[in-house]
């Protein structure tokens, strides 16, 4: 993999939680990428992510044809050529991997989105989470802290659950209190963790109805693939996942960058 002299196209997805960069070549191949905590200096994080991605792609900064940014911090990326919303970019990225009529479910660090696309990849409808971050990565981070379990161990734990414990609270903080109550009652941690995953799924499913083909994207799905299996089981639908679900927005942004370059 290398692209020293070829033009590449960059997508930068600056989320509230994580910054993702994707580098594509002219044939839409993913050559390089990087994911980092966004922190408080979005510009610096974006620059560092870009550097690492280009290194992985074996591409020089001069070979970047165009760069589009997206996400919460999209306007903080000084080297962007233009911006697109994360809704647009996740739609574009998901359709790139699955060019059929789909419903995209993106579970991000603080945002959830459900985006319905027709068979041409055009957006029919979209919804984002209302007012609070229940059912997002922030919820799982809070629970990880409450349970004193590293985030990366939650997926493995949930898989071992035999009797899932359902939680009733909506609010993330109150859910934490409920979790402690369940532990006091002697419930198994694995069963509680699966219940936490189910809470995330419930919050998402309340947002909109789903079509037959679902594509799941975002960091929560990337690091907790068991959630995808649970959604399959609960909905009985065809649930698809791109190779790097957390990069879908960045890939979409890079595709928009490429298309903008071609129309010039």
């Amino acid at each position: 993999m290398g692209a020293m002299n070829k033009t590449v196209f960059v997508g930068v997805d600056v989320g509230a939680s994580r910054t993702k960069v994707a580098v594509l070549d002219g044939e839409k191949n993913l050559l390089g990428f990087c994911v980092r905590k966004s922190g408080t200096d979005f510009q610096k994080t974006a620059e560092e992510c870009l550097e690492e991605s280009l290194k992985m792609a074996e591409a020089s900064p001069e070979s970047v044809g165009k760069c589009f940014s997206t996400g919460y911090g999209r306007k903080n990326v000084s080297f962007r050529d233009d911006t697109k919303t994360e809704i647009g970019c996740h739609a574009r990225g998901a359709y790139h991997y699955f060019p059929i009529a789909i419903t995209v479910i993106d579970i991000g660090g603080q945002d959830n989105k459900i985006i319905r696309l027709d068979d041409q990849g055009r957006r029919v409808n979209f919804k984002m989470n209302r007012k609070c971050a229940a059912g997002t990565g922030a919820f799982l981070e809070e629970m990880s802290m409450r349970l004193d379990i590293p985030l990366e161990e939650m997926d493995g734990l949930a898989r071992t659950s035999e009797h899932m414990v359902e939680l009733g609270s909506y609010c993330t903080v109150f859910s934490g209190t409920e979790v402690l109550e369940k532990i006091r009652q002697g419930e198994k941690v694995a069963d509680i963790v699966k219940g936490l995953f189910y809470s995330v799924i419930k919050r998402v499913m309340e947002m909109d109805s789903l079509t037959d083909r679902i594509v799941m994207t975002g960091g929560v799905v990337e690091h907790n693939p068991y959630i995808v299996e649970m959604v399959r089981e609960i909905t009985g639908k065809d649930v698809l996942v791109p190779e790097h679900p957390q990069l879908t927005g960045a890939v979409g942004a890079a595709l928009f960058a490429m298309e903008a370059s071609l129309t010039e």
Binding site: C67, S78, T85, E86, I87, G88, N125
Partner: protein, 417 residues
Amino acid sequence: MREEMADEKKSMRKEIAAGKTLKKIMADHFYELDDAARTGSKKIAWCTSVGPAELLRGMGFLVYYPENHGAMLGATRMATELIPYANAQGYSPDICSYLTCDVGSYLQKKTPLTIAYGIESVPRPDVLVFNTNQCRDVQDWFAWYSRELNVPLIGIHTHRDIGQIRKYQIQDIARQTEDLIPALEEVSGEKFDMDRFKEAVAFSRRTSELWRECLESAAAIPSPWTFFDATIHMGPAVVARGTKEAVDYYELLLAELQERVKSGIAAVDGERHRIYWEGMPIWGKLRALSEQFASLKTCVVASTYCNSWIFDQLDPEEPFESMGRAYTELFIVRDEPYKEQYIKDCYDKFRFDGILYHDAKTCPNNSNNRYGMPERVSEKLGIPVITINGDLCDLRCYSEEQAKTNIEAFIEQLDER
């Protein structure tokens, strides 16, 4: 590396010249009330926005509208810090934020009238008159002042969720309105004067006709003004309803809008998309939203809210009956099928590309997204819809970044069609 992109371009706001007259009308309205409150020269009635203002004017009262004060508290962004004082008195943060910010304003003795006009406080009422066609909250709101200031509280109780209008409903509201007269005579010390009443009804009717024409000028492509302009210029239709000043103002405004249409002057340069705003304004974010839409080459051309001050059913020959009709045919008290048809009629007239529903946390009566209407209307009209979450006055309920992203993504979606 690329050079830094320019910041989001801010479109030039096209100031409406009639705005200077508007400012004077609003100032005169408050100065007159303030003078009357301090000198006792005239009696003052507090009235809800679609209350029997014509009757009150006909009986010689000056009329003050607490909802207008609530809107000012929201627009000046004073509301959010005042609401908690009402909350502490037991008024839930989930109820009407006009009510909570106005009560908070009273408790803290802070009003935007001071900054705007040098007026120390809102005018003390001699009588409080409500119509629950807006919601139950207005009655509870006025009840606070009735207890606090020991002032009589009277009002009209509306029918709700009406489909087909029945004669008995109109007559009921007409009779309730008439039944207010003895209590009002006692407060005013004057006998009810039918001619003065009919004159006020006639002025209201004419104001409504002119206001309708102003709003309908936005059917032009491009539109000469936006919803954000209209929420400001509706001031006289709200507070000066039933007076000649309001009639004169809308004749002036209409002429200017018609001139813009004739000259092809667009409120939003390069108007590419047209939107219908369903629900309350977000008072503290009018400018920000106006600028965002303009930067996206999108004009919000029509709204339920501004349309709600058209009372062209009023008839000076049948004042009570026609008021009963106007208050019963009002959008806010109608059922879902009526509202959907209403929006369809607006779609045919204003030719918009999408609808934005504003779910105002503290205003269920004006948040029409909650029973599946957006989905039904979207399917019926074949256009996309979006719902944003916010509030009329309480900015704690408004996640600005979420709303901005939703709006931007919505316009992207329209661009793709």
